[in-house]
Structure formats: structure tokens, C-alpha cells
């Protein structure tokens, strides 16, 4: 499973990086979204993978400390997701503002060269 998770993180990163290198605001947003998926999964995985051990304490069952998965990365990912959402929202708004003020959706506000393909 670890290999699959690594693969997932890698592919998400690669797709995200490729998209942020495109010159338009919308792919940029998509790319950053993919990157935040990648990093959230990565951050989550740093607590290692465990199946069926959610960190919900059962007061009736005296499970050992190892009986739960690591809760901290989950809390971190939660925070990261929220922050990522806020940032994405802001970036989207900014993309619209750029569209309004620069007249096109190129990240540098370059005039539209038209669809060459």
C-alpha cells in the first residue's frame, strides 16, 4: 500500500506542477488544487498507514496506545485543508480580478495570442 500512496502523491504532484506551469489562471488554480491534494495526502501519510484504527478513544475498551493510528497528522491535514481552501478561494478571486483589470486570463496579463492549436 505504501508504494501506491507514494505513487499517488507523486502523480498528483507531477500533474499539479505541470498545470501551474501553464500560463493561464484557471490551470494555475487547478494545478495548485492538485498540489494541495498531494501535500495533504503526504502529510496524512507521515503518520503512517493503519487500517481500522481511527483515533477515537473507546472508553470502555482499554486499547493500548498502539491501538490507534497517529492522530496528529490528521489534525494537521485538517488545518492544511482549511487553509488551502481559503487560499484557493482567494486565488480564484484574484484570477477574476486579473481578468477584469488585465483584460485576459493570462497570468502575466499578456494580450491573448489566440488559439494556435
Amino acid at each position: 500500500m505504501e508504494a501506491l500512496i507514494s505513487l499517488i502523491v507523486g502523480v498528483l504532484t507531477a500533474c499539479g506542477v505541470y498545470l501551474i506551469l501553464r500560463g493561464r489562471t484557471f490551470p494555475l488554480v487547478l494545478g495548485l488544487t492538485l498540489l494541495s491534494y498531494a501535500v495533504n495526502l503526504f502529510l496524512f501519510a507521515t503518520g503512517r498507514l493503519a487500517i481500522g484504527l481511527p483515533p477515537i478513544i473507546d472508553p470502555n475498551l482499554a486499547k493500548p496506545v498502539g491501538g490507534y493510528t497517529d492522530p496528529l497528522p490528521q489534525a494537521l491535514v485538517l488545518t492544511a485543508i482549511v487553509i488551502g481552501f481559503a487560499m484557493t478561494a482567494f486565488l480564484i478571486m484574484l484570477a477574476l480580478k486579473a481578468r477584469a483589470e488585465l483584460g485576459n486570463d493570462h497570468v502575466d496579463g499578456r494580450p491573448d495570442p489566440g488559439d494556435r492549436a
Binding site: 489534525a75 488545518t79 482549511v82 481559503a86
Partner: protein
Amino acid sequence: MNLFFVILIPFVGAGLTGWMSRFGRTPSAWTAGGVTLLALLCLMPSAAVPFLGETLVQRWPWIPDIGLDLALRLDGLGLLFALMILGIGLLIILYARYYLSARDSLSLFYAYLLLFMGSMLGIVLSENLILLLMFWELTSLTSFLLIGFWREREDARKGARMALTITGLGGLALLGGFLLLGEMAGSYDLSTILASGDRVRAHPLYTPMLVLILLGAFTKSAQFPFHFWLPHAMAAPTPVSAYLHSATLVKAGVFLLARLFPVLSGTPEWSWLVGGAGLATLLVGAWFALYKHDLKGLLAYSTISHLGLITLLFGIGTPLAAVAGVFHIINHATFKASLFMAAGIIDHECGTRDMRRVNGLWKFMPYTATLAMVAAAAMAGVPLFNGFLSKEMFFAETATFYTEHDWGWLLPLVVVIAGMLAVAYSLRFTHDVFFNGDPIDLPRTPHEPPFWMKAPVGVLVAICLLVGILPMLTVEPILTVAVASVLQTPSPVHNLAIWHGVNLPFLMSLAALLGGLLIYAARRPLFTLAAQLEGRLDAQAVYRWTLGRVIAFAAWITRHLETGSLQRMLLLFVLSVLTLGVAGFVGSGSPLTGTRATLPVDILGVLVTVGILAAAIGTLALHRRRLTALIVMGALGLPVALIFVQFSAPDLALTQLTVEVVTIVLLLLALYFLPQRSPVESSRGTRIRDLGVAALAGAGTAALTWSILTRPFASISDYFLVNSLPGGGGTNVVNVILVDFRGFDTLGEITVLALAGLGIYAMLRDLRLHGPTQDADGRPWNWDLHPSIMAALTRLLLPLVLLVSVFILLRGHNLPGGGFIAGLIAAVGLIMQYLTNGVEWTHRRLSDNLHPVIGAGLLIALLTGLASLALGYPFLTSAFTHVHWPIVGDFELASAMAFDLGVYLVVVGATLLILIHLGLLHRASHATSLNPPEPR
């Protein structure tokens, strides 16, 4: 502490003079003069000290840690210079009062002059090397102001900038040199440094240090090849030239040579560098001086030449040469100051300084002419004038040099040639201006200037004469103490007599005089030759070229670096990160794979992998069709949530699912205003490159993940698992971490969310965007604003959604859920109403002012934390208790729940604020908005 006052008074006086401007020109002049006199008076109590063979040091601690004190010293050299600076300064102030026209701001001029004077005094009186350097740079800055005083003139601005650039360059080199010197000597105090000459000269870094310091000295003293700034500085008002280029600015460089003479001199490097530069400058200056048609240009090059002479003397390095050097400093100051002033008078009276037009002034201003001719004679080294004495000592030193070195005979030969040139240009100054026929086409008719304008010239010329005739009575005492402080030993025996008999130096002087006469007589062919040579070997051209290249290079490199392309920046970022990460990992020799056992692959694992890869790669492949890409990307959230579920993170799954849909709504709102397709802009090569970089980045993160996941692990989390219930009062450890163990993170996180809301709201104010009236294929939008089947049923769902939201909020502390997820669910429920019923309909039922909700949420969360602070516990300390009520039973009350409520409110408020205001964008952009009809 009188030395401090000597320096401080001109600085304070500068302000005072500026302030005096409101009372007119004369009061300004009086103030400036008074200030200078005051400084001179302040110096007087200590003036005797050098004559007793002592050095006065006054110290005021400043930054003792690094040996930088406000330490001043007064020795013979300092006294000599201070007297020259103040004395000639006084004359300049008087002269300038009459020289500057009514249009010029005299008080500003005096203020700059006094600032400069103070800086100059600082140089010569500094005991601390760094302090000296500070004043050194201050002279560069203030001279910039003075040279550029006539700011409306282009040549003045350029001249000032050039002077500042060259002397600034030197100043920076000097900083480097001083730093090294200070390290070598172990102190920045001159007293220590002057005593550690042997140590310094033996130091391995002696040569670089020497070069750096000499760069400073040479640029300031306009030594070849840095001499070219000086003629351009002639654009300054003549009093400035008279001051800066006689006794002060350019003398700072030779002062430095004199100051550090005991430490730096006595090595071949010193001789070659200083002597070589001096000799070249002597010759080059004299050569160009002869051919300048501008009177001040002639004087400027002659100044360069004389500075070269002094430098050469220090380069020769014998004690007697030092005596000659110091002596010539004095002499040059007097005759050159008077010559500049005379030139100023001529300029003032004739309206031009062009010697081809200025002729025969003898008839118009005989007194001025007499004074000028005396000074010119001193410059030429004619006997009975002071210049003769020092020049003869100079010839004597070169002659001595000849006896001690192979090829030494060259030196006397060259200096005699330079001497001839000096005589020739002095002669030209005299003959071409005051005789040589009648003036040609002068703008004004010249006559004698006001008395007080001539008076300073007269004083200086008198000094030239007195020194020239009675050296032992006039200059000898101060020269002796000055030389003593230059050499740090008592002055060598020297004889300042006018007549030493017929010896080699006398013959050299004679040769120079006669040769000069001959050259001047045969000047015509030489002028032609010079005109042909002009433009070659032009250091100024080199400077301009260099500066131009530097600026062009700067522009080139900046243009290529800062292209303003975000893609470039991001590419550089990714590449930098890759470099850093790879360098970090590879440099360590750690294995990629650790020893931890891995989990077996199961069907769900394969499924989510396939799902995520398909969605991610699909998004990439389809990214140009934006809506399609968005839909495909929308499929990412599910498998990711499944991963979270599978690997024991229910809270994350819930969060992921809600955030995902809000993000999609957000992207859809934005997409409406954007093109529906991305054009292909980058070339095939660029795309392949980007794919390569992306693949590398992906490989990097995959390797990182793999490397971590396969390593054994111990973390601080056990503490959370143990303390969550007893200490935090909740069984959902993730939630307890969020609201308690790391509640501060959460406080920050909701602040981020609130900020996003506020920021977006703030940005919307002036935003005008026009949404398309048809879709990407040119089809008009559907008539049905709010399909009624959808509308009717989603209204039914609202209570259900809110109920779920409350449920998730309340259970969060013990089971998956919490304020954030609950807030998002509520927000989604409300957004659904906007989606299906429209803004207008919804706003009639729900306020759109969400700021209070956000503010209240933040405040609740903050107050929860502050409450504990008020009770004497750290911020955000939680408390919980179990309450037992009849019927209801046992339930828990926790402060963390209040905190979570704050989170909930911020999330609802901010999410709605963002989405609604984005949704309203279209309406805001149309003055006459389409009023969607109200569904019945």
C-alpha cells in the same frame, strides 16, 4: 573636547546658515564666516600641542564593542590641514558672497560649504580610521551637492555624479582597505596603527590592503587613471572649485597618503604603485593642462598634475620627499586657490572662460592681473614664489632617486619635462588671458571686480610671496611639526633657503623654465597635435564606456531574470526546490527505503489509486477544456476521501468531501467569467520541458513519501491518545487536538478563513466583469433560471442539512465531526438555496451581511481562550465538566465546545461570504441587473 566642537560647529552652522536665509544674503555670509571663525577659535586652545611634540587625542565612546569610538586627534599634519581648511574656507566664503548671483541661494550654498568643511575637518582630525572613513564619504556626498549646485545645468549634474561615482568607488575600496588594516593592526585607532607599521607590512594581506587604500586615495586625489572626474567638477561655481581643488577635497587623498605614510610606505609595492601613479598623473595632467582653452580646465589639469607631483613625492618615500610633499601641499593650496578665484573673477567679468576669446585683460583689470600672474608664477615654480621652493625640493628628491636606482635617470628626465609643461601652461594662463591682443566678442565688458572679491586673492598671493621669500619665518614651524607627524619621527634636517647654489635641482628648475618658454613659443604645432590626439587615451571615455556597459549589463541581466513571467518564477521555484531536496537527500548517504514492514495491497487500495491517477492525469490531459477538466478533477475528492476512510481518518474524509464540493462551486463561479478553453501557448519543447520538470517533482515527492512510509516511527502522539479523554474531555483525539492541544493552530486557521473572506470582499469593490450571454458553443443560456423541480425539492432539504450540521458540530468532540465540518455543511446547505432559488429569493430570507457572523465567531474563539488567561491559566486552557440533569442524564460541558462554536461561525460566515459575493459579481457588473422572476 574642543576638537569635537571644531567639527561640530560647521555642521550646526550649516543648519543655522540655512535658517538665516530668511534674513538675506549678507547675514548668511556673516553667519557662515562667523561659524568658520568660531571653529577656528575652538581649534586655537589646542593649536600649541603639536608644537610641543605631542599628539592630542580626545575620545567619546560610541560602539566600544568593535573599537569604533568618536576619537579625534590633533597632530602637526592635522593642524596644518585644519588651518588650511578653515583659513581658505574663510576666504572662499568672502569671495562667494560676491561671486554668486542674486538668483543663487547663497544660504544653501553656504550650508553645503559648511557641511563640506565640517566633513573635511573630520577627515584630518580623526583618530579612528572608521571615523575618518565616515568623514571621507561625507566629503564625497557634500562635494556632490556643491558640484551640482547649479542643478539646472546638465554639466553640473553630470560632473557631480561622476565625482560621486569615482570618489564613492574609492570610498568603498577604502572601507575594505581600512577593514583589513584594522584587522592587521588590531585596532582602528591611528595611534596604534601608526605604531604597527612593521607588523602591517609583513602581513600576507598587505598588498590587497594597500591596493584598496590607494584606490581610495587615488580616486579622491584624481590620480591617473581616475583623474578625469576633476575637470568635469569644474561645472561647479568657481568658489567651490577654488575650495575643493586647492586645499580640501582632492587634498584628502594625499592627506591619506601622508597620514598612513609610516605604516604603508617603505615597500616596493608602495614605491611602484604610489610613485608610478604620481608620475603618470604629473605628466598627463601637465600635458592636458596646456591644451585646455577653458581657463578652469587648464587649472583643473594643472591641479591633477600637482597632485601627481605630491603623490610621486610620497611614493619616493624618503623623509625629505615627505617634507617636500607636505610643503607642496601647502604651496599648491595657496596658489591654486588664488588662481581659481582669479579665474572666477575673469569668468564673472567677461562672461566666458574661453582663452581663445579672453585676451588682453591687463588693460581692463590690472590689479587682478597682477595677482593672477604672481600666483601663476608660483605655479610655474619661478624663484621667489613658494612653488619654486617645493618644486626644487621635488627635483632634488628625484635626483637623489636617480643615484640610487637603475633606470633612475628616467625619473629626473620625466619630471623636468613635466616641469617644462607646467611652465608652459602657467605662461599660457598669464599671456593668453592678460595679453595676446584684444578680447574677442565677449558677452560683457570686463572691469575690476569689487574690492572684497579681490581681497581673498590678495591674501593668498601675499602668502605665496611671503612663503616664497621668507620660508623659514613663515612656513617652517608648521611644516616641521606636520612632517614630524607624517613620519612619526622628528622632521629630517631640511633647508628652506631660496638659494642652494648651482646644483642639479637648480639646473633642472632652470631647464624647466627655459623649456617651458620654448614649448609655449612653439605651442601652435603642439596644439594641432593635441587636437589630433584628442579622444584617444581618454580615461573619461573609458569611464563612460564602462559605466554604460555596467548599466547595460544590469539592464540585460535584470531583464532576463525579472521577465515578469509567473511561469518562469514558478519554474525556477520548482527547480530550486528540486535542487535543494536532492542535494539534501543525496548528500547524506541514507538509503531510500527504510526497514518498516509495508501493508499488503488490497483491492480498495488499487481502486483508489486507479481513481486518483485517472482523475489527476485526466485533469492534466483535458486541462485546456476547462469545464471538462473541472468535472474530472471533481472525481478526485471521492477516492481521496476513501483513502482517509480506509486508513482510519474519518474526520479527514468528512472534511475532504465538503471542501471538495465547495471548491467546485467556487471554481464554477469563477469559470463563468473566464474563457472556457485555454489556448496552446507554449511550444512543444516548452511543454516537454515542463512535463520533465513535473515528472521530476513528482518523482521527488513520491520518493520522499516512500522513504518516510518505510521507516519506523515514534512520535509525540502517544501523549495525545493518553491525555485526550482525561485531559481534554473528548474521545475524538483529532478533534481534541484541534480545539485543545493545538487549539492555537485552529485559531490561526479560522483567522485565515476570515481573512480570505474579508480579502475577497475587499477586492470585489471595484470589480466589474461581464459574464457571457451565451455558452462556449455560442448557444444562448437556458430560459429556466431556477428549474422548479430542483427548487421545490432542495427547499425541503434545508432543515435536513442544518440538522446534520448541528449533529456533526455537537458530536465532534467525541466522534468524527466538529465545528469546521459542521460549518461547511451548513454553508453548503445555504449555498444550495442560492443555487436553486437565486440570490434575490434567498436574500429576502437570509441576511447577506456576514461580517458580524465572522467577527462573532472569531470573538467567541478568542474570548474562550482569554477566559482561561483571566483565570490565571495559559491562553486557551480548556476546562470541562460532566453535568447531571434529571431526565436528560449525564452530559458534558467543555470550553472547547465554545471554541468549536466560534470555528463553526467563522466557517459558515466566511464560506458564505466568499461564495455569495462571487455569485453576486455578475449582478454587480450590470447597472441594470436582470431581476430573476420570483418563483411563485
